[in-house]
């Protein structure tokens, strides 16, 4: 078996472990599914009239508009949960088992990210299913749904890279868990839950430049209207930026962890 194939097997095995770990630990699963679903239900039920506000983009329903935000929230928290799980591994010494195996050490991070990406995939399917069940339309059809799924999955992996970097750097689950409120703040300062056009300053300015807004619009476009090439391009660029940031930070944090033991 070639080295590449062996490493791919390792990444797959570690990714599978990461997924099992999440499903077996309710405190990791709850923020990914339960919390965003409840928030979606509350916001849709309580603020559904927002679609009638002047300046609100044309959408079929508030639920249709909110699906991208719910997916974004879910994938952000999946990335955070992935970081927490990695930090728990460090705290209980499980990473020593991985570091003492004859595998390239980057496969350990990639395995974790593969698991986070799979959770992103699960989240996108879950919220699309909820949307369809409760009457939201996917305006650009199956192709649009696939684009949304791909964007959510890759963004989950990208955000997971940042979570992994923080876990590797600090080795503390409580520190990574402490970022939970920050994740929500960054998310609320994007177009995830409310259109930029209706925000007041300075939140509006922040949201316009927040990379997450570009990703959200890339996911939302195929759901509420149709695939827009420039919108999609901006989303891909934003995701690429987050991927590069996550991988660079993870690589540096990994080197640091191996240096300090």
């Amino acid at each position: 078996m070639s080295e590449l194939a062996t490493n791919a097997r390792v990444v797959r095995a570690l990714g599978m472990r990461s997924i099992r770990q999440t499903f077996r630990r309710p405190q990791l699963m709850a923020p990914i599914v339960v919390f965003p679903t409840l928030l979606l239900a509350i916001q849709t039920g309580g603020a559904g009239g927002a679609v009638n506000l002047p300046g609100f983009p044309p959408v079929q329903s508030f639920l249709q508009f909110m699906l991208a935000g719910a997916m974004m929230q879910s994938l952000m928290l999946a990335g955070n949960s992935g970081g927490i799980a990695l930090a728990v591994d460090i705290e209980m010494g499980f990473t020593d088992r991985l570091f003492s195996a004859p595998i390239p050490r980057y496969t350990i991070v990639l395995g974790r990210l593969a698991g986070t990406a799979a959770l992103g995939l699960f989240a996108s399917l879950w919220f699309l299913a909820i949307g369809l069940i409760f009457g939201a339309q996917i305006e650009s059809g199956v192709a649009g749904a696939l684009i949304a799924i791909a964007l959510v999955t890759t963004t989950a992996m990208a955000v997971g890279g940042i979570g992994a970097a923080i876990a590797l750097r600090t080795g503390s689950a409580s520190v990574v868990q402490g970022l939970f409120p920050l994740v929500l703040v960054v998310l609320f300062l994007s177009s995830a839950f409310f259109p930029n056009e209706l925000m007041i300053q300075p939140a509006r300015a922040i949201a316009e430049y927040n990379p997450l807004s570009f990703v959200v619009e890339g996911i939302r476009g195929p759901i509420v209207s149709g695939v827009d090439a420039s919108e999609l391009g901006e989303a891909v660029l934003a995701i690429a930026g987050i991927v590069v940031l996550g991988l660079v930070l993870s690589a540096r944090a990994l080197r640091h962890r191996l240096r300090v033991g």
């Binding site: 499980f94 003492s100 191996l258 033991g261």
Partner: protein, 324 residues
Amino acid sequence: MAAAIVVEGLERAFDEVLAVQGVDLEVDEGEIYGFLGPNGAGKTTTVRMLTTLLLPTGGRATVAGHDVVKESRLVRASIGVALQEAALDPLMTGRELIRLQATLQGLPGSEGRRRADDLLERVDLAAAADRRVGGYSGGMKRRLDLAAALVHEPRVLFLDEPTTGLDPVSRKTIWEEVRTLNDEGTTVFLTTQYLEEADQLADNVGIIDGGKIVAEGTPESLKSQIGNPHIQLQLAAGSVADAEEVCARIGKLLPPKDGRTVLVEVENGAADIPRTVRALDEAGIAVESLELVRPTLDDVFVAKTGHHIEKDGEEGAEPEPVEA
């Protein structure tokens, strides 16, 4: 015989603290090397460097013929590691863990599954293989950790305090498995803070304190440096002076502990007990108890460092009681 582990001037500093200070040691293939020292002596730091989990800040080391810094992946392919706190995921089952370990070691899927089944059987965990590790007892976790370390049949096995916190029965089970592995040809590098463990298992012992090796050799040679065993007898009745007069003919009298105990150093160990008993009987001296006390590795440790390796009363001399 070729050396499985060679360590020359190994050092590790953490900021201003030098945790390991110029350690030199050599472990032959097929040997069990006991690395003995109290908590904080530098045992685990040394093991982490030898297993490539921590970079040395000085010196060099080779394991299975490979440099731990320059050829770390080759080292990792040759070793099995069971660290101090069994590095297990409580959410995984025993079988999942061993299979994951097999994948990490590059074993093909079918071989990994076969090895997992064999090893779980070997460490007597087949019945619990599909239960989550979080529900295992301390002994079961240690056995699973050991099985995971063996999945690729390593040439050198590192066991960092494998029995710390275990009950005596579980400890003996681990000892038996270590002996079996060694009989099969595996070199074992074992750190421990238990004197008895090093004494029972190790062919050679290195004693570390304050990051430095303070003594090295076979357990017997180390103990023989301290002196001969002594007979300790407690009188039921009669004069200590009379008993001392009799014992002085057997061996060298040692300073007494109290007013009813006589200590006499003997050259032939247990072989001197019968004539001691006969001489006391002929002199009409009644003895309540008599035991042969051998020098221990703790005595060696005290002689080299000035302090005991274990907490007082935890484990000290190893008396062999003899009914008088």
